[in-house]
């Protein structure tokens, strides 16, 4: 399989830390080059030549120095002063050994409106740069005073007509304004000096704030980046794919982690663009065909085994060498690991989701793809007769196994590692499989997790929102495959919690599918399952909203049923109490094409879970 990776570059503005921290992180993550942001250099004790040497030592080229702002001026004295300022920048670049500088379209009141005059000033600037062996990459800021679209900047570059004057294209500025990127394919190849890439969620705020605070790496937001990159590559651009992402969270998070996330985003973008027939594919293996959850592995709290039996799960096997038991009902397979680290921040011990097994048509190919997308492959200690399962770590620390349950097809069968136990099966309650898992993400890793699941697993976003929970707002995003066989619901606090946070920390759940949740919950309750009590006020409100039959409402009140409706159908669910510090289970019945994950009722559930943990009066 032939793969080719384009040159990948990262702007230092994307990362937290001092310039040293940022350069180290870019190198560790495997970037080929960097854009150096002037304020990072200004705060650094090394002179420009020292920074240049440091980059060379780290194997990083300096692909861009940025930015030079507000260069053109209707005031000749001001323009002369701006040229002196530019010369000082060229001095810095000579020290760095950088040959391309970003010049943003002016936002100043004295910006030049007249196209000929602007062209003349850009030509003068380019001439000065050329004498120093430097190129001017001119970029239209979306909020530039007169030049604020990519085609306006392209006209200015053409009119400026100097070999040292070319275009810098930034996907944010183009896509945030809704401009059509297709005509970029017609730009002269030699004039495409630089390319900056950024994604963003659709937010309704002024474009400056949006750009300065909320950019994302490609694949984390809602922009169609392949649609932008394709015409740029068609025009013949061969420079680096570079990220310039201003993001409040990334600017305070571990820079090595952010840099790895950044590199993954470019690899996935190049792959997606290649799949549209343009450019080369650095990944070289399509998204894995994942056909459903093979199992969910849980760290065992003391309550877990009893609760699973009450829910109708039978213990069907024990692992050959590890303290792991297998429980099954229908296609729902849960592994209970008595030796696992329970993870989580501050939740103490108890049950937790530690791994997901995913059915793959080709587990080895899935693992190879994950590794190429910078997923940390975990070292495995496998006994001689055991399946060699490929295991990678998701951003929240959950392990992902690519595996097979059925004995036909390539690769190892995970369940062969279990020895059947000779126990009478527990009567089932009607659970048929795993609907989805719900995972709280680490605050700094939410967008990273979205991209990870999209790129490594080939899932896509099916819901994106936020809701007001009792102890603060929650961001939520669900990812699924097109057939909705694998669903993963991610949540995170909108703001990182402080000292006052009596909520259940980092909750997790497994949603178990059934066809008749009232019947399943009744059977489970009768068998002693610890179902969560739901306030009568909730059911009073539900009755007023949905006008359900009295008999249904009576059952709902008795069992603590939640019921949400969307345009496609209903999601009817029953939660257990917390099984230890953070884990619970939900029985869910989906009707029609309901595509939700219970977020409308989550605040009520969260208040109830917190209440169930208060000391009994």
């Amino acid at each position: 399989m032939s793969r080719e990776t384009p040159r990948l570059s990262l702007a230092t503005v994307c990362l937290s830390g001092t310039l040293e921290d940022k350069l180290d992180a870019a190198a560790v993550a495997g970037f080929d080059g960097v854009e150096i942001f002037a304020p990072d250099l200004v705060a650094d004790p090394l002179p420009p030549a020292g920074i240049g040497a440091r980059c060379r030592d780290l194997g990083l080229s300096i692909d861009l120095y940025q930015p030079l702002r507000d260069i053109d001026s209707t005031d000749p004295d001001r323009f002369a002063a701006n040229l002196r300022r530019a010369e000082a920048t060229f001095d810095v670049m000579a020290g760095l050994g950088a040959d391309t500088v970003l010049v943003c379209s002016s936002v100043a009141p004295d910006a030049v409106a007249d196209p000929d005059r602007l062209a003349g000033q850009l030509h003068t600037l380019a001439g000065r740069a050329h004498e120093r062996g430097i190129r001017i990459a001119y970029e239209a800021l979306a909020w530039g005073r007169h030049v604020n679209t990519w085609d306006a900047s392209w006209r200015a570059v053409q009119a400026g007509d100097h070999p040292a004057l070319g275009l810098c294209l930034d996907s944010f500025h183009v896509l945030a304004r809704g401009s059509d990127p297709a005509p970029i394919a017609g730009v002269e190849r030699d004039k495409l000096f630089f390319l900056q890439l950024a994604d963003a969620r659709e937010l309704s705020m002024d474009v400056l704030s949006w750009s300065r605070h909320h950019r994302l790496f490609p694949g984390q937001g809602g922009f169609d980046l392949p649609r932008f990159l394709a015409p740029v590559l068609r025009a013949g651009y061969t420079g680096p794919l570079s990220l310039e992402v201003f993001n409040d969270v990334f600017r305070q998070a571990d820079p090595v982690r952010t840099a790895v996330d950044a590199r993954r985003s470019l690899l996935a973008l190049a792959e997606a663009t290649a799949h549209r027939g343009v450019g080369t594919d650095p990944v070289g293996t399509g998204p894995p065909a994942l056909t459903g959850p093979a199992f969910v592995e849980l760290a065992a709290g003391p309550e877990l085994g009893r609760a699973l039996r009450a829910l109708g799960f039978s213990r069907t096997g024990v692992h050959r060498t590890k303290q792991v038991e297998r429980y099954e009902q229908g296609d729902a397979r849960l592994l209970v690991n008595a030796g696992a680290d329970t993870g989580g921040s501050g939740s103490g011990t108890g049950s937790a989701i530690v791994a997901l097994g995913l059915e793959s048509a080709d587990p080895a190919a899935s693992a190879r793809r994950a590794a190429r997308l910078c997923a940390p492959l975990l070292p495995r200690s496998t006994g001689p007769d055991e399946a060699d399962l490929a295991e990678v770590s998701a951003p929240d620390g959950t392990s992902l196994f690519f595996c097979r349950t059925a004995p036909d097809g390539p690769g190892p069968v995970w369940s062969h590692d279990f020895v059947a136990v000779d126990e009478p099966p527990v009567p089932g309650t009607g659970i048929t499989g795993i609907d989805h898992v719900g995972l709280t993400q680490p605050y700094d890793a939410f967008d990273e997790a979205v991209l990870f699941h999209r790129s490594v697993l080939g899932l896509d976003t099916v819901a994106d929102g936020e809701f007001a929970a009792p102890f603060g707002l929650i961001r939520s995003r669900a990812l699924a495959d097109p057939a909705r066989r694998i669903r993963i619901a991610l949540t995170v606090s909108l703001l990182r919690r402080g000292g006052w946070s009596p909520a259940v920390a980092d909750p997790q759940y497994v949603a178990l599918a059934c066809d008749d949740v009232v019947a399943t919950a009744t059977a489970a309750r009768d068998a002693g399952a610890p179902l969560l009590a739901v306030p009568a006020n909730y059911h009073d409100d539900l009755a007023a909203r949905l006008e359900l039959p009295d008999a249904t409402m009576a059952a709902y009140r008795e069992l603590g049923v939640f019921h949400e409706r969307d345009g496609g159908g209903d999601l009817i669910g029953v939660c257990t109490e917390l099984l230890g510090g953070r884990l619970f289970l939900i029985l869910v019945q989906r009707t029609g094409t309901h595509d939700g994950h219970g977020w409308a009722d989550a605040p009520v559930r969260m208040a109830a879970h917190r209440r169930s943990r208060l000391p009994r009066a």
Copy 2:
């Protein structure tokens, strides 16, 4: 002095927690009543009658139940269903014992545009309510489909023409749209059913997001709330002043603390409105005449005394009973306390700002005002001959003393508690006084701190912004008196920091004024003061920006001088290294009317401070 406090009410949406947490917090803070937000009730295990009883036990009236949304409809069946939904709400209210419900203007696609039809439906709704002894308070959401201004809602109420139909006015919806509140004075008194108050900073985003995430308590934002409240009171409104503030930070912060902050905001608003001649003043004593900093008290780290001597401070006294030394130079007075708690989160031991002494024309009146504005008065242990200084605690834990330095005037003189020491004075370096103090605020208390300093001290915001620091974005806000004798610069991380945060935690500084900072810094350096090394790159950049004389630049490079310019003049400063974990000192020279606090250069300084703490190679 006659004081009268209006009835004060708080919406449960303002607070974090479950309904129980919220009601308890409102009662602890001294509110008279609450607005109950329906989702808080829905998640509560007590039935409505139980919640009503709980409120009565806590001394809280239920002034409003909210909201009923999207009531009117162009679809008769939908309208009938909406009336059934309203009846269910009236059932809840009967249980609560609440008699007023908020009805928001509809945002639904089927909202009624025709004024007569809308009036008819509102009349019908009011009739149903009236039968249950309930009043409808109709409010225009700023993003309502057809009714989205207060005067449109007033026309609908007039046309609806029912004694149980009146107006709810919300300052956010009126002021966010830029509507003129003055004509509210002409609304019929009996139709003003309810009043909701909220402030906000000017943000350029869609009004819905602005309203749902970024409302503030009065005095924390930029709205002119007295201009809104005055015409409402002139119209004859006698109901409660109620806060409805959706704020992401408040929704995850300690609810008791938020409720106290909320109550302070209403008291200060009523005072400010009374000062404009409308309504009664619950505070009853105007803002104190504060004429400057009396002293800054520092917890003593080991480096502090030596650094102060090198900066030209003489030790002039020791406290009669406490381990406190007094240092003086010009009008700069610093107390060094060897027995103080150094505070701060995670900064370990070392020097810190623990108190500010503020010169008050009437210290006792200042303290009385602070107490009436809910400032925590700290218990004092005072020896028999010692000054009984009034001490209150600011939101970040800094103590504020209201006191006098000069022996003329009422109240105790703080410096009488010190016995002069018989030491030769250290040669001064030209420090003339205290320019300002810089204090990092706790994440959840930033807006609280702004209001505290505005209301309790009578300061006002003179700068409000944010900047990108090496380890994340920083919000900044400076408060000062009109004469700029007292300046306090507050900062906070835009996002609460996580595990990766190598920055200096919670930095604090005292900015010391001088007339010639180069001369002062030279003398201090020669005496061994630990001045902060500033990168040459910074000075290269400065030279390119400001075109200063070469001799000036040479001195700047040698001493590590920072230089900022605004329209009014220059701020030229020299920092010390960190004196312990978090404290440093700055020498500052202000020219003209420069009104800044060094935030443009703060990122360079922060990187340098972090570097100075790295292990030496």
